[in-house]
Symmetry: C2
Subunit: 212 residues, 2 copies
């Protein structure tokens, strides 16, 4: 389940307060996507054109703001995993989760960072994170058992894939979704060790885009 | 050829000046590897325990310092490509260049950044860069012509691979070389579209290591 907000639920807020709240959440999502989660609260208040006091009244902590800003994305992520697990074809379920999560990573930069790395101690996120890890392990076992995923694939290879995808998409700028699609297709083919599937079109990335 | 230094060649320097010079270069390599190329000249002077004036006397510009700091790595990179091109087996040559360049990227963070992205206008680097691109294209054509590299592989896939490798190694910390080996093995297998080669051991990366 998405995390509970730590402030009054939206339906009890007056119209102008609700508008402020939505503006803060939109500003937070933009700022996190552009600069990661280290953006100061004051910068988010400026971007949302509200006072810092207003921001803190609605969202007393950075955790509360991050959780609320990404509650939709978190729900989407949970749904993607549940769909993958419900697929009667374990390989198709596995592939679909990998593709969708990597595409989210390519298009919603702040969210993946929030969910996967920066809030290990945030109770709501920690619960979702454990659930995601259990779900992934189950998907992997099933895809191996039906003989479609290589036996030496490990759950940590998902992290490797996502780190790789993070590098590819961070470096590809506006081509991030295309870069992610091609990289994921290459890797899935190797994960499956089957026939040569056609790849998405190549991405016109210059060597100088590499910057780590 | 490695770039020419823009200051007096080392053999004409007195012993203490030569020692200063080596200390500055070592400090620069450390700082670039840790923090990328944006490290201020003053921070490098502090790390090398020399005055800022001394640093600027030896290396009048940041370009000059970067070029000298990485001249060995640049020579190594050129040698790797030449060896790959000289291999009578084009696939082995291609694979070896990919593996060695990705391993350099995993272990010499500052250098790859310097060479590939940040100094497009630096004449010496630009020349090496064009040469590298021509060499890579030739390797790729040969490996395709002998039927071992898939036909739909593109030179831009090398950039994609290196961006992915950059993400994997930046996120893997001390496990960077192992993460790079496994990622590159997965990708090479997919590039070749042949039999299932055994992979290097998995890397114990936690999901929370992802941070982009």
């Amino acid at each position: 389940m998405p995390a509970q907000p730590s402030q009054k639920p939206p339906e009890t807020l007056r119209a102008d307060a609700r508008e402020n709240r939505e503006r803060i959440l939109a500003a937070a999502r933009e700022a996190y996507a552009l600069h990661g989660l280290d953006v100061p609260m004051a910068a988010i208040a400026r971007r949302a054109k509200v006072g810092v006091a207003t921001l803190y009244r609605r969202f007393p902590t950075r955790d509360a703001l991050v959780t609320e800003a990404f509650s939709e994305q978190l729900a989407h992520c949970v749904a993607v995993l549940d769909e993958g697990l419900a697929d009667p074809d374990p390989w198709r379920g596995f592939r679909s989760v990998v593709e969708k999560v990597c595409m989210m990573q390519a298009t919603e930069r702040g969210f993946t960072q929030a969910f996967l790395s920066q809030f290990p101690d945030h109770a709501d996120y920690a619960e979702e994170q454990s659930r995601a890890e259990r779900g992934l392990s189950l998907l992997i076992e099933r895809a191996k058992d039906c003989g479609q995923l290589r036996r030496d694939f490990e759950v940590h290879d998902i992290t490797l894939l996502m780190l790789a995808n993070s590098g590819a998409t961070a470096g590809a700028g506006a081509d991030a979704p295309a870069a992610s699609r091609r990289l994921v297709a290459y890797l899935l083919q190797s994960f499956r060790a089957g026939s040569t599937a056609p790849l998405p079109p190549p991405v016109p990335l210059e060597l100088r885009r590499i910057h780590t």
